[in-house]
């Protein structure tokens, strides 16, 4: 549902374009170079946008189409570009995402890739080397970066996964989380003694340690050999409540390989984390390790310690739908009233998902709007007088205008340091968010006071 009045124009969008999401997903696969089939600008803009958040290299190749290619088709440039990426990057996988330009001129990318594979197979002499080529259709005029992200994950599974026999691993499809979040998931799986194939895995590729050299392709990411055996996994766990009704990557694995699927929300806040750990206990037949029970206990202790600072405060939450659902779930638990949940995305299930996670906790359900931009969010804010806002850094103008704290979560965070290291999920992530929110509110109160309390 869109806000009223239904403006035609968009001002300060609360979404990004589809190919950007695909590039982010490809970046979480081992040895992969994301490749945009389109004009050079798309790749450059997205690189700049992504680098500014992660402070990591983000090489995105482009077929660099010019005017004549727009008329006669971009196939030749795409093939030349692939060859160049193979030569210089030695990629194991090239993730090819289309753009508005190539979708509209009607380039048939799967067909061009088949031609390319045949041409390469015919080449004589040279040692045979052909990386996996995965293509995904991502015209930016339909859907947001999140649709692009999930489409890329699905394309990878569709084009690579097989059932090569039963494996002990589970598939974990986390959606778009921070490198810190993915590291946390790995730790949890390891502590449960549960091998997992996390796709994509940006924990190292988008937050890399200092190394001896400039890595052409960042080390890390989901191994391709793992993706190939995902069809034999004992179970798939997929995050994202607004995906429940969609043809998700997880459902594709189920449909094709009969792997049982557990869909759940992003584990943000106490109860969504409880659901996550409950599923892990069910899958492993093991109790949650003491470490996590302690984290949970400390979190509840902190909920109690902090409750008076936050109770009744009104918040606007915005950003990707599934992130907003998770953050809203958490806000409702600590007594903050989410008054507006907004996203540029339009899954059609946003409101329902918000209601699921806030049921029984909120006196009034929040206003929930899909397809919103920051102009509309600011207009709505006039009516609901929020005490704080939570989302990516693009809400800063609103926070500044209203002189209220902005708690930065998600992507992008272009005006602070360490966005790639923000932990959102699990008990530990909730603890981190709680500390930041409570402190932001205390700081606001302290700064606003003429007394200058040094004891809050």
């Amino acid at each position: 549902m869109k806000a009223n009045p239904n403006y035609v124009s968009t001002t300060n969008a609360c979404k990004l374009c589809k190919p950007l999401g695909a590039c982010l997903a490809f970046r979480g696969i081992d040895g992969t170079v994301p490749f945009l089939h389109g004009s050079q600008g798309c790749a450059t803009y997205m690189r700049r946008y992504i680098i500014s958040h992660f402070r990591e290299p983000m090489d995105i190749a482009s077929s660099s189409l010019g005017e004549k290619h727009a008329v006669y088709g971009g196939g030749a440039n795409l093939k030349q570009g692939l060859k160049n990426v193979m030569d210089k990057y030695g990629a194991k996988l090239i993730g090819i995402a289309t753009t508005c330009l190539t979708e509209t001129i009607g380039d048939d990318v799967p067909m061009i890739l088949n031609e390319f594979r045949q041409e390469m197979a015919k080449q004589k002499g040279k040692k045979k080397y052909l990386p996996s080529l995965v293509s995904v259709s991502t015209p930016s005029y339909s859907g947001t970066h999140m649709e692009g992200f999930h489409a890329a994950v699905k394309a990878v599974i569709d084009q690579l996964a097989m059932n090569a026999g039963f494996i002990e691993s589970i598939n974990l499809l986390p959606g778009f989380l921070s490198p810190a979040d993915i590291r946390y998931l790995k730790e949890v799986l390891e502590d449960f003694g549960l091998p997992g194939i996390i796709l994509p895995d940006v924990s190292e590729t988008l937050d890399a340690p200092a190394r001896r050299d400039y890595e052409k392709i960042p080390v890390g990411g989901t191994p391709i050999s793992d993706i190939r055996v995902m069809g034999g996994a004992k179970s798939t766990l997929e995050f994202g409540r607004t995906l429940f009704h969609k043809d998700t990557p997880g459902k594709l694995i189920t449909k094709r390989f009969m792997v049982p699927l557990h869909q759940m929300g992003s584990p943000i806040g106490l109860r969504e984390s409880d659901r996550f750990f409950a599923i892990l206990e069910e899958l492993t037949g093991r109790k949650s390790p003491k470490k996590y029970l302690h984290e949970r206990g400390r979190l509840i202790d902190a909920y109690v310690d902090g409750h008076k600072y936050v109770f009744g405060k009104k918040a606007i939450v915005y950003g990707e739908e599934d992130l907003v659902v998770g953050i809203t779930a958490f806000m409702a638990e600590i007594g903050i009233r989410p008054v507006l949940c907004a996203s540029g995305g339009q899954s059609g299930r946003f409101r329902e998902a918000i209601e699921e996670v806030t049921a029984s906790l909120l006196p009034d359900p929040p206003i929930v709007h899909e397809g919103m931009d920051f102009y509309e969010i600011a207009e709505e804010a006039e009516g609901c007088a929020p005490d704080l806002i939570i989302g990516n850094s693009k809400g800063y103008p609103l926070a500044r205008q209203r002189q209220i704290p902005l708690i930065r979560v998600g992507f992008p965070i272009h005006d602070r340091f360490g966005g790639q290291r923000i932990l959102h999920i699990g008990y530990r992530g909730a603890q981190n968010l709680l500390d930041r929110i409570v402190n932001a509110l205390i700081e606001k109160k302290q700064e606003a006071s003429p007394v200058g309390y040094s004891y809050m």
């Binding site: 403006y7 035609v8 124009s9 968009t10 001002t11 300060n12 969008a13 979404k15 990004l16 374009c17 589809k18 490749f35 389109g38 004009s39 050079q40 600008g41 798309c42 790749a43 450059t44 803009y45 997205m46 690189r47 700049r48 946008y49 680098i51 500014s52 402070r55 990591e56 290299p57 090489d59 190749a61 482009s62 077929s63 660099s64 189409l65 010019g66 005017e67 727009a70 030349q80 570009g81 692939l82 160049n84 210089k88 990057y89 508005c100 330009l101 509209t104 001129i105 015209p139 930016s140 005029y141 339909s142 200092a210 190394r211 001896r212 050299d213 400039y214 890595e215 540029g344 102009y375």
Partner: protein
Amino acid sequence: MIATKPQAIFEERKDQIYRKGEAPFDLACNKESLAGAVSQRACVFCGSRVVLYPIADALHLVHGPIGCAVYTWDIRGALSSGPELHRLSFSTDLQEKDVIFGGEKKLYQALTELINRHNPKAAFVYSTCIVGIIGDDLEAVCRRVSQEKGVPVIPVQSEGFKGNKRAGYNAACKALFRLMGTGDTNGVSPLSVNILGDFNLAGEIWIINNYFKRMGVQVAANITGDGRVDDIRRAHGAALNVVQCSGATLDLARMMKETYGTPFIRVSYFGVEDMADSLYAVAEFFKDKDPQIMARTQELVREELSVLYPKLQEFRDALSGKKAAIYVGGAFKAFSLVKAFRLLGMKVVMVGSQTGTKEDYEELQEITDKGTIIVDDSNPLELSSFLKEKDVDLFVGGVKERPIAYKLGVGFCDHNHERKEALEGFVGMLNFAQEVYNTVMSPVWRFVPRKEDAHLRER
């Protein structure tokens, strides 16, 4: 020193790389970027957007899918002393049905809605890749809205795939030129200039404005930093165009010369030498109309330098002998940087640009030392190999170049349009020196793996 891996360089790009002294100078440029090479270049739209963006009382509507608008929202540090309409990101956010049935109706509605809401002095409507393919008649929609609303509504032919950034500069200049000649030139002094090609990053145009004021020269229009539509409309009344930057607004200066006879000079406000030369060139131009202007300008330069030089000396002592690499958008800026590094006692060992011209590279070849690598339209693999080969202490570039430097344990200075430090003018030279000093002298480099061994050996 780690030897360069020759495989970093594409066969097809070998003629776009030159090492001074190796052979007679010859460098290919102005070519389409090589597919798959991960060029650092942007597109036509980007070129237009960066030039027009700082016009603060105009509405900038991007006609296309959401990406083009969202990646250019509030992206430059281009400041305004008044209205800030330019800092909002407007888009028609084209959807699939618009692509199928055409986006003209949506454009008309969006334009009308936004003009009603914001009452801008003018509107620029940027064309994107997709608009070029589906063939929306921007010209017709803009004409209609302009008539209905009584403000100039100007289409910018900036379809991304129709060339590189330079083509976008040209499209922006054409759009600006349509505004020109429509305003009243009463009150424009005979001793007046237009500042072209300065975008008021971190308030830089105010520094330059202040110099001109002290010289007794009126600035008729800022084009486009802290720009205003009404100033641009009467800019043809100015006596001289002072053009900075590699060519972002050079086409506009040429158009104005042809139509209005306005002469232009090319200048740079980066570095002490170029900054002083620029002011002297303006003084020289006006010396017949105002015999005192040269003396005032000399006094200004003297004053500024007397403050600057002692402070600069401290930086020079620390930085002398350090090695720098430069990779910027336009080559013109690189000229000034080469000179600025010389003033700091540093050696430039690599210099390149995204969109330099033959003449630009010839000039670079003239002013650089033997062995310097000169490169056109480079990419991360090449740049990283050059940084290692030359074992540099500092890399100057933009956001996309920053991780290349940092991953190699090399200092970095942002000289792109996102910077928040004023680098123009005499004071800008000091800021630049400070920034170079802050990064080069940081203790963190000794801990990075590539340098760790060397430091262990030293101990």
